[in-house]
C-alpha cells in the first residue's frame, strides 16, 4: 500500500498480550516526531473479548494527553480533516500468544532450517522443526504434530528437481496426524507448501482435503539460494485471515486499519532491517521480555531473527537458571550468596512474575540473571544466523588457507555497529549505565560498537510504519524511540598476566581530552553526550587488536550518549572473570564502581 508523502498525523497501536500501546506521530516543520503515547489493558479475554475495546481505550488516552480529537462516533476518524482525526491508522499484534507454527523440511540443516528462518522472519514462534533426518521415528513425529496444535504448518523440502519421496513422506505424516488448529475447530489447519515444485501435485493429493493447503514458490529452489519472501508473505496473509480472524474483535480491527496488521516481532524485524539498510550498518536488536527473548540481526545485509521462547525475566526466569546453571549466574553477582537461597529467589520471581526488586541486592541479582538470559539468547542467535548450509563451494588456491566454511555464523562482532536493547530489565533499569554494562557483558562486542535502548518499546509500531512511510519511521526511531547510551571500545585479545592493553588519545568536541593507558581487567567510563564526539587514536598493545591488526593503531571518531564512552580492557576471546570467588567479587565491584552503576548507600 502506498500513501501520500505529505501525511501529517499518524496513529499506531500494538496489541500485546497484556497491554495495548498507542502512539501519535505528528509532522512538525520538516520532521516527524512522537507526540504522545497512551496505553490500556488488552481486551482479548473475557469479559470484553474484543480487542478494539482496548485499542479505543488507549486511543482515548492519546486524545486526552495530546488534546487532539481522534475518535468520532466511537471510531478512529481517517483521514484527518486537518484539525481532528488522523491521516493513517496502523497496528501490530501479539495478543493471544502470537503466531505459533510448526515447520518441516527434508534435511534438518538445509530445507528445514530455511523453513525455520522463513517462519521466524515472519514473526512466528516455531514450536518444532520436523525433518526427515531429525532422528525421530515416524510415529513420534506424528504424535508431536497431533500434540502441538500449531496455528499453521510450513512444509518445505527438496530443492527444485530434488527428492520427491521424502517430501511426500512428510505430507503423509501430516495427513495421518490430522492436525487441528489451536484456535477454533470450525476450519481446517492452514498448511503452506513451499518445497520442490515436482512434488506439488503429490502433496496436494495428500493434503488438499484434510487441510487448508496453500502452495507457494519453493523457499530453497537450489542449495545455494534461499527465496523466503513468498513463504513469509503467505504466512502474513494466513495470519490475518485465519489466526487473527479467530481472535475476538480482530475482524473489526482489520477494518479499522489502513494497512494489514502485522505480528509484533515481524514488525520489529522490519524496522531493524530498514535501519540497517538506510544507514548501511550491521545491527543487533534484542527484546528481553518476561517469557521470551527475541534477537534480530542484520549482517552484510542479511536479516535473521530468533526467538528464545523460554528465556525471559519472569515467567521463564527459572528456565534461564535451568539452561545456564547456577555458577554462570553467580559469576555476575558482586557479593556472596547461599546457592539454595538464590535458587529459591529465582523461582519465587517465576511464581510472582510482577514483583520488582526493592533492594540493591535484589536488583543486582536480577541484572546478573539478565546477563545470562541475554547471553544465551545471543548464543542461540549466532548458531542460527549462518550462511546457507549444504552449499558446495568451489575452492581455488587462494582459499586453501581460508578456514571459512558454509554454515558459519553471520554474526561478526567486529563489524557490528549498533546494539539496540529493549524490554523491561534494560529499558527500565534505574541507571542507564546498568543497561549498557549488561549488554556489554552479555554480547561482548568487539572493536567499536554503539549501544542504545528503546525507551518505551515503540519499535513494533515504527516497523509497520516503515512499510508505508520510511522517512517518518526512521526519524521517530532516532529522535524519540532510541536512547543512545554511548560507545564501547573493546580490543580483542587475551593475556596470562596483567599488562597494558590499549592507549587512548582522544580530543573531545568540548575541548577536553582523554589520554589514558588501560591494563588488562580495566574498565573506564568517560561521560560524553550524544551530540559530542571524541576524535583521535586508540592503540592496542601487547597483541591486542582493534580491527586494524595486532598492535595497530586505529583512528576513531566516537559518539557519546547518556552514559558516554566505555573503554573495556577486560579482554575478548576469551573474556575471563577471575577464578577465585573473592577476586571475582572484587573485580565486579571495581567495574560497577567505575561505571557508577549503583548508589553507594549501604543496605
Amino acid at each position: 500500500m502506498s500513501i501520500p508523502e505529505d501525511i501529517q498525523v499518524i496513529l499506531a497501536t500494538d496489541c500485546g498480550s497484556t497491554t495495548t500501546k498507542a502512539i501519535l506521530i505528528e509532522k512538525t516543520g520538516d520532521e516527524y516526531r512522537l507526540k504522545v503515547r497512551g496505553e490500556a489493558p488488552t481486551t482479548v479475554e473475557a469479559p470484553f473479548e474484543d480487542v478494539t475495546v482496548g485499542v479505543l481505550n488507549a486511543v482515548t488516552e492519546v486524545e486526552e494527553l495530546s488534546g487532539r480529537k481522534i475518535l468520532k462516533d466511537g471510531q478512529i476518524q481517517t483521514p484527518s480533516d486537518g484539525k481532528t482525526g488522523v491521516d493513517i491508522y496502523i497496528s501490530t499484534s501479539s495478543a493471544g500468544g502470537g503466531l505459533q507454527m510448526m515447520v518441516s523440511g527434508v534435511v534438518k540443516t538445509m530445507t528445514a532450517e530455511s523453513a525455520e528462518r522463513a517462519a521466524l522472519g515472519a514473526g512466528a514462534i516455531v514450536m518444532d522443526v520436523i525433518a526427515s533426518n531429525d532422528g525421530r521415528l515416524p510415529h513420534e513425529r506424528i504424535e508431536r504434530i497431533r500434540h502441538l496444535r500449531p496455528d499453521m504448518i510450513l512444509l518445505s523440502g527438496g530443492i527444485d528437481g530434488g527428492t520427491v519421496k521424502h517430501v511426500v513422506e512428510l505430507a503423509e505424516l501430516i495427513e495421518a496426524a490430522k492436525p487441528k488448529p489451536r484456535l477454533g475447530a470450525s476450519y481446517n489447519l492452514p498448511v503452506i507448501y513451499a518445497g520442490n515444485v515436482e512434488a506439488r501435485e503429490k502433496v496436494q493429493e495428500r493434503l488438499e482435503d484434510v487441510t487448508d493447503l496453500q502452495v507457494v514458490k519453493n523457499l530453497r529452489p537450489t542449495l545455494e539460494q534461499e527465496n523466503l519472501g513468498p513463504a513469509r508473505e503467505k504466512i502474513h496473509d494466513l495470519f490475518m485471515e485465519h489466526v487473527m480472524a479467530q481472535a475476538p474483535g480482530y475482524k473489526k480491527l482489520m477494518d479499522m486499519t489502513d494497512a494489514p496488521i502485522m505480528p509484533t516481532p515481524g514488525a520489529v524485524g522490519l524496522l531493524i532491517q530498514t535501519i540497517a539498510e538506510e544507514e548501511e550498518i550491521d545491527v543487533v536488536g534484542v527484546d528481553i521480555g518476561g517469557a521470551t527473548t527475541d534477537v534480530f540481526s542484520v549482517f552484510e545485509g542479511t536479516f535473521n531473527r530468533t526467538v528464545s521462547a523460554n528465556l525471559g525475566m519472569s515467567y521463564s526466569i527459572a528456565n534461564v537458571l535451568a539452561e545456564t546453571g547456577l555458577e554462570n549466574i553467580v559469576r555476575w553477582v558482586p557479593f556472596s550468596i547461599d546457592p539454595t537461597s538464590l535458587r529459591n529467589r529465582i523461582v519465587n520471581k517465576m511464581i510472582r512474575p510482577t514483583t520488582i526488586p526493592q533492594t540493591l541486592k535484589e536488583l543486582k541479582l536480577e541484572q546478573a540473571i539478565a546477563r545470562e538470559a541475554l547471553r544465551l539468547a545471543f548464543e542461540q542467535h549466532k548458531s542460527f544466523a549462518t550462511t546457507l548450509k549444504g552449499v558446495q563451494r568451489a575452492r581455488d588456491i587462494s582459499d586453501t588457507f581460508d578456514q571459512s566454511m558454509a554454515g558459519e555464523t553471520l554474526v561478526n562482532l567486529a563489524s557490528l555497529d549498533l546494539i539496540v536493547g529493549s524490554g523491561g530489565v534494560l529499558s527500565h533499569a534505574p541507571r542507564r549505565q546498568q543497561a549498557m554494562l549488561m549488554m556489554i557483558d552479555a554480547f561482548l562486542p568487539e572493536g567499536v560498537t554503539e549501544l542504545a535502548v528503546d525507551s518505551i518499546f515503540m519499535m513494533p509500531q515504527l516497523g509497520v510504519l516503515s512499510t508505508l512511510h520510511k522517512q517518518a519511521a526512521t526519524q521517530v526511531f532516532h529522535k524519540d524511540c532510541l536512547i543512545h547510551l554511548g560507545t564501547c571500545v573493546a580490543p580483542v585479545g587475551s593475556l596470562k598476566k596483567p599488562k597494558e592493553v590499549m592507549k587512548v588519545d582522544l580530543s573531545l568536541s568540548n575541548g577536553d581530552s582523554i589520554i589514558e593507558t588501560l591494563s588488562l581487567g580495566d574498565l573506564l567510563l568517560t561521560p560524553l553526550s550524544y551530540d559530542e564526539t571524541a576524535t583521535g587514536t586508540i592503540t592496542p598493545l601487547n597483541g591486542f587488536d582493534l580491527g586494524n591488526g595486532k598492535n595497530d593503531a586505529v583512528d576513531v571518531e566516537l559518539r557519546g550518549g547518556v552514559v558516554g564512552l566505555v573503554f573495556d580492557a577486560r579482554g575478548r576471546r576469551p573474556f575471563n572473570l577471575p577464578d577465585s570467588p573473592e577476586a571475582k567479587i572484587s573485580a565486579l565491584n571495581r567495574w560497577y564502581d567505575q561505571m557508577n552503576m549503583y548508589s553507594s548507600e549501604e543496605e
Binding site: 510415529h139 527459572a318 539454595t340 535458587r343 529459591n344 511464581i351 514483583t355 520488582i356 541507571r431
Partner: protein, 375 residues
C-alpha cells in the same frame, strides 16, 4: 489514586465454585443439568484416536514404491492384527515369497505409491472424565463436558505439582511454622492429604510417597528438592502432569515460609473431610493456580454464586509481602501515597506504607504485596 488492584490468592471457608470439566476432544456427556455428582463420578467420555504407526513395506518386500498398492493383501479400512501379513510379493516365478507383517493391531488407513508407506491406526483409547468435586451439574457443554457447581472451603496455592486427586485431610504438624519432615509421616496417612507447616523436606516427600500419601499441602518447598524429586529443573511454571505419585500444593512460595495462619486454621477445621486437590499450575496468560477444595453438603443453602472480586487496596487493607526483604510477612496498609517514590534501587515506583505484624513500619513497592482476601 488511593486504590490499587492487587488480587491475592483466595482462601475462603465457604464459597460457591463452578468447575468447568471439559474433554480434550468432543465426546459424550453422561450427566444432565440438575444431577448431583460425586467427585469420582464419570461426567463425560470420549475416545482418543489411536496412535498411528507408519511402516514402509518397500524395503521389507524389495519392491518399488509404485507397486506398494498392488502387493497389499489387506485393503484400506480393513482391521489387522499385530504380526498378521498385510502385503506379500513373489520373485523368481513364485519361488520366493516375501511377506510384510503388521507391526501393531489396528486399521489399515493408507498405502502410498510415492513412498511405499503403509499407515496403521491403532484402536482408540477411551478417556473418562470425572466430576473431580462433589456438586451439582449446572450446565452441559454440548459434546464437550459440564460445569459442576460446588459449595465449600476453597484454598488457592501459589505453586503445585501433580494432577487431580481426592483425599481426606489430616494434619501432620501442630502449627504453621513447623517443618514437615519424615518423622511426622506415619503409615496411617496412606491415601490421605496431609498438611505441613513452613516447609516439606525432600525426605518428607519421599516418605510420603512410600507410605502412599495422596496429597501434601504446605507453606514452602525448596527448589533444589523439587529438582531432586522430578529429576529435572522446573523451567517454566506449567505443571500438573508430573509423573509422581503425590500431588503437592505449596501455599506461600519457595524456601522456608510459614503457612498463612488463616489457611492453616481453615485446613485444621476441615480435618476428616474429603478434599479435591490439584497441583496444576500455569503462570502465563490464563493463570491456573493449584487448589484445595473441600465440598460441603449444603443442598439447602441457595446462596448466590460469589464471584471472584479482587479487593481494592485501601488504608487498613491486610496484605502479605511477596518478595524480599520482607517476604512472607503480613501487615496492614497505613498509607498509599499517589506519587511515585524512589526505592533503594533508585527506581521510582508506586509504593505503600505498611505496619508489619511485629510493629515495624515499612515502605513497599505496590507490586510486591498481595491483598489477603477476606472471606
Amino acid at each position: 489514586m488511593a486504590h490499587a488492584y492487587t488480587p491475592g490468592l483466595r482462601v475462603s471457608p465457604r464459597t460457591t465454585l463452578r468447575k468447568v470439566r471439559r474433554l480434550p476432544l468432543t465426546g459424550e456427556v453422561k450427566v444432565s443439568v440438575g444431577d448431583q455428582v460425586k467427585a469420582a463420578d464419570i461426567v463425560a467420555r470420549t475416545e482418543l484416536p489411536g496412535a498411528v504407526t507408519p511402516y514402509n513395506i518397500v524395503n521389507t518386500l524389495g519392491v518399488v514404491a509404485e507397486d506398494a498398492p498392488h502387493v497389499m493383501v489387506k485393503e484400506i479400512g480393513e482391521k489387522v492384527e499385530a504380526d498378521e501379513v498385510i502385503a506379500e510379493s513373489s520373485s523368481f516365478f513364485g519361488l520366493f515369497t516375501s511377506r510384510a507383517k503388521a507391526p501393531v493391531s489396528g486399521t489399515l488407513e493408507s498405502v502410498s505409491e510415492v513412498t511405499g508407506q503403509v499407515i496403521i491406526r491403532q484402536p482408540p483409547t477411551p478417556l473418562e472424565l470425572k466430576a473431580y468435586v462433589d456438586g451439582k451439574v449446572v450446565e452441559v457443554l454440548e459434546e464437550e463436558g459440564v460445569i459442576v457447581e460446588t459449595h465449600g472451603a476453597f484454598i488457592q496455592g501459589i505453586f503445585g505439582i501433580g494432577g487431580e486427586t481426592n483425599a481426606e485431610i489430616v494434619m501432620a504438624v501442630d502449627n504453621p511454622s513447623e517443618t514437615l519432615d519424615e518423622t511426622k509421616i506415619t503409615s496411617e496417612m496412606a491415601g490421605k492429604a496431609i498438611v505441613g507447616g513452613n516447609m516439606v523436606t525432600i525426605s518428607g516427600i519421599k516418605k510420603a510417597i512410600d507410605v502412599g500419601v495422596k496429597g501434601i499441602i504446605v507453606g514452602g518447598i525448596n527448589d533444589t528438592d523439587i529438582k531432586e524429586l522430578l529429576g529435572y529443573e522446573i523451567g517454566v511454571a506449567i505443571t500438573g502432569s508430573e509423573d509422581i505419585e503425590v500431588t503437592i500444593v505449596v501455599t506461600e512460595g519457595f524456601g522456608e515460609i510459614a503457612m498463612a495462619e488463616r489457611t492453616f486454621e481453615l485446613l485444621k477445621q476441615n480435618v476428616g473431610n474429603q478434599a479435591s486437590i490439584n497441583g496444576a499450575t500455569q503462570i502465563r496468560a490464563g493463570v491456573i493456580r493449584p487448589e484445595v477444595i473441600v465440598p460441603m453438603d449444603v443442598e439447602s443453602d441457595q446462596k448466590a454464586v460469589s464471584e471472584v472480586v479482587a479487593g481494592a487496596m485501601e488504608t487498613g487493607t491486610k496484605i502479605r509481602v511477596i518478595r524480599e526483604p520482607y517476604f512472607g510477612k503480613i501487615g496492614t496498609v497505613t498509607d498509599l501515597p499517589p506519587k511515585l517514590e524512589p526505592l533503594p534501587t533508585e527506581a521510582h515506583v508506586r509504593i505503600l506504607r505498611a505496619q508489619l505484624e511485629d510493629g515495624e513500619e515499612v515502605v513497599l513497592p505496590r507490586a510486591n504485596v498481595e491483598i489477603i482476601e477476606e472471606a
